[in-house]
Symmetry: C2
DNA sequence: TCCTTTTATCGTAAAATTACGATTATGGAA
DNA sequence: TTCCATAATCGTAATTTTACGATAAAAGGA
């Protein structure tokens, strides 16, 4: 479903929709584990995360994409590897929105 | 997938799993709208929520169940209606966990 | 009792997500 | 250049979620 369609159908603000997308991204155990790993290991490459998760490389890559699309993490290409870290700006925004919501 | 299996497979703590379940519940625009409505209207019945959402009664009831199962809301039967409200205890726990996670 | 109101649940079709192997693309080393 | 390492993407099967109409259940009024 298109974002514009969701906003119209469900009568959400842009912020509420973005927040919901972040929640959805965090609402899977594998992605929760990735986030926890990144908080514990501020700089790491895809391979490190693949080693920790009980999933195939392709699946982990797919989960990383979901987290990237939600804006929660960002990956910078370093040679042949990709270095991932939490996007602190988004995390701060997320926390602020939670405070507003409830 | 069973909860026990998820904990084992993904190597999450009970708290992390519960948090992930709450995130998942909030990760749908309809349920986000329900939560927002409940914060704006602390006491209301199912029918009020059905009137606000662009979804069939059965679908709304299903979404309410997801939020109930996640512990985010609770419904008390009042005669022939059900009165819903946010579970402030769970909301507080949720906010605290977010603070811990990041 | 019988009807109405209210809401949950059932059954099910359609859509989305998840997981994996295979493939592709890119950068660096030999 | 050729090979290897790293990681993203493709194609696809299996599972889960979402949405709805129909049905059930329970309380209250006529």
């Amino acid at each position: 479903m298109e974002q514009e369609q969701i906003l119209k159908t469900y009568n959400l603000t842009d912020d509420e929709h973005r927040l919901s997308e972040m929640m959805k991204a965090l609402g899977h155990p594998a992605r929760m584990q990735i986030i926890r790993y990144l908080t514990d290991h501020p700089q790491c490459i895809t391979g490190d995360i693949v080693d920790v998760l009980p999933l195939a490389q392709a699946t982990v890559s797919q989960h990383l994409k979901v987290l990237r699309d939600a804006g929660l993490i960002c990956g910078t290409i370093e040679g042949t590897a990709t270095c991932y870290c939490l996007c602190s700006e988004s995390v701060d925004w997320f926390k602020a929105q939670i405070g507003d919501l409830f």
